[in-house]
Symmetry: C2
Subunit: 291 residues, 2 copies
């Protein structure tokens, strides 16, 4: 097939069982120009070596997954979470500097769910703001954008208390746009009746730090964390969402991030080729212009 | 135990495997004052007989589940759905007249999902409005309130394209408040950052046709349609939501509607007793005043 869309970045989690070295090699061999990384496989080889490997690959770096999980009340667990986020900020800066021109120093943040035995959703949401207030100066100093990702409301109890793009923007807008933005991930927000308006708002404020695409498939699998599907296999109409993101001024890479057992079981090179083809068919035509 | 809260109504689906006769008897024997019915068990005995049975039970009727499923484009399927809704309106009026004083002529509407092979979420949502425009005069003539129920966004593709209370109100407010309202069901809306504001809006407009409670339990079961839990078994804080519904002026029955395989497997009388106890503990203290 032809070369992948230059705007396409594949998030490493889509080929979860590939090592960092294998992931970088498969992307390069497939003609990909960009990759999104996860902290764990980077830690496996060590940050410095990961940065050299990324530089050697010639790929852009589109984001690091993930920080966040800072809804715990004050105490040791919260301090450990904030320290982990500080390390993630440094990792993001290092990897963005090592990636090819056009790399994005973006750290994706998943807020975290309700603390154990707590039903205080309002309080957990307030602690997300508190955590950002603590981390934002460090992100700003490191030139990193903290990207608050609203997760689908079905994860509100156990994974992320930030549930809509509007809510993510309400939070992000308390901080400078250069250091706190949002992620627009089609899987999480496609259902939102207010989506296009909130995308426009995010764009007007310069808050779109990352645009991610994958599909919503039904029936949902037994583990709803693995419900993401390849573009075209589900119910999402990518054209209006992608056009809205483009109109909102976003010109960065578009990441495909799919957690799906059957895709993980495939050969990584075949997944990358299939992802590039699905992207071209479902997203490419309406995608924002390349950087 | 003491008699159940007079405001408590148990939706028949909570004891799904009981016949209408058994459901009415169990409720009466348990000291319950109100019941929510489903069309299918009513149809099993016939509407007239069901109405007589309800009248004989001395129970109030709090709602009929359910109409809706009218997102199909124009054609035979859509016409059949609208005709089914017309029959449901008549059934609602008949049952409300047969129920004890304080019965509510409320027909719960589940919008329906995307039509087969369609990704046109905007179009499906517009057809919900079109269907209401067709049905509202008939509901009004019959003295029935059509209650648009926003379902959790995880059902947006395959069950209900109405996903938030705000969206349900945007739809309902195009019609007279006496004939088109909304359902506030904690399971579906508890995660919404805008929830309390939308409840106040619904109350100010006289649009709360039904308040339903059950809990959000994790992990979600393999079939997410059966994810509802008994109050207290999950993550929802019922107090602020119930207080907001009360402050919004709602004084009707509060329905417990739980789809849960393990609860369905229990003896109905035991489910009713346990529901009354959980209601008292989690909801009762902050519930609106009885009619």
């Amino acid at each position: 097939m032809s070369r992948p869309d230059p705007r396409l970045s594949i998030n490493q989690a889509t080929i979860k069982y590939a090592s960092l070295a294998d992931a970088l090699r498969v992307m390069s061999d497939s003609g990909m120009q960009s990759i999104g990384l996860w902290r764990e496989p980077v830690a496996e080889v060590g940050l410095d070596r990961a940065a050299r490997m990324l530089a050697d690959s010639g790929l852009r770096f589109s984001s690091l997954c993930r920080g966040g999980f800072f809804t715990a009340p004050e105490g040791a667990e919260r301090r450990a979470a904030l320290d982990a986020n500080r390390r993630a900020i440094e990792e993001t800066a290092t990897l963005a500097a090592a990636g090819a021109e056009g790399s994005a120093a973006v750290l994706v943040l998943v807020a975290g769910g309700l603390p154990a035995d707590s039903r205080d959703l309002v309080g957990a949401r307030e602690r997300v703001v508190d955590a950002l207030a603590e981390l934002e100066p460090e992100a700003s100093a490191a030139g990193v954008a903290l990207a608050v990702e609203p997760l689908h409301p079905m994860y509100a109890a156990d994974r992320a208390v930030v549930s809509t793009l509007g809510q993510a923007l309400d939070i992000a807008e308390r901080f400078p746009a250069a250091s706190v933005g949002v992620v627009v991930d089609t899987f999480h927000v496609w259902w939102d009746p207010d989506l296009l308006r909130q995308i426009a708002r995010a764009g007007a404020g310069g808050r779109i730090a990352s645009y991610q695409v994958c599909d919503w498939v039904t029936p949902l699998p037994a583990d709803v964390l693995l419900a993401r599907g390849m573009m075209g296999d589900g119910h999402i109409d990518f054209a209006p969402i992608t056009a809205a993101v483009a109109e909102a001024g976003y010109t960065g890479d578009i990441e495909v991030e799919i957690f799906n057992e059957s895709i993980w079981a495939e050969d990584p090179a075949s997944v990358v080729a299939r992802t590039a083809e699905a992207f071209e068919r479902c997203v490419g035509a309406t995608a924002p212009a390349a950087r």
